[in-house]
């Protein structure tokens, strides 16, 4: 008899784990992984710059 896992077990990875992201990272070459990290850092830096810029129409 086949025992099916509850849907929640299948759909939701354990806390703190994300199989999809791990698989994606492992599909990249080391150089591409470093590029992904650099891209993340650049994006956050850009967001921080935008955040510190005054909003239009405000001093």
């Amino acid at each position: 008899m086949q025992i099916l896992a509850p849907a929640a077990t299948v759909l939701r990875p354990p806390p703190g784990e994300d199989e999809t992201l791990v698989r994606w990272m492992l599909s990249l070459s080391p150089a591409e992984r470093l590029q992904a990290l650099q891209g993340f850092v650049d994006s956050v830096s850009e967001l921080r710059r935008d955040q510190s810029a005054p909003l239009p129409g405000r001093p």
């Binding site: 784990e17 199989e19 080391p30 470093l34 850092v41 830096s45």
Partner: protein
Amino acid sequence: MINPPRFRDALEVFARHDVELIVVGGVAAVLGGAPMATFDLDVVHARTADNLERLGRALAELDARYRDPAGRLLRPAAADLAGPGHHLLLTRCGPVDVLGAIGRGRRYEDLLDDAATIELGGLSVRVLGLAALIRTKEEAGRDKDRAVLDLLRQALRASTPDRGE
């Protein structure tokens, strides 16, 4: 002001000066396939006299100074880099942590067997493997190390599917 990290540029400077080092920490985790973020480059350096000289030249080119809360301009000295301590630096390529030893006092020589040389588009870099990275983080036992252990273990399991698990 803190310059945003430019990991590859920093590694290129170290490589140009032939600095013997092993990339550890978050960048090593990412290179090993763990989907995580970090803002500093952690390296463990060989503490031989020749390498300390090369490291000093590389750090000078990177305009390295200590991350000093008081804002003083403190440069790393070769005598200090010869010890097992951690040097938390700011450089023109972002924060760089130069570590004399990690985990339970593991030096460059102790980590060599667990490091692999990888190619980053024409740049050869020695990087600590995930299994050893996990071990050193378990040994360090700090909250920030424990926080990433699950993810590192998951990446290790996924990257070695034929271990019979």
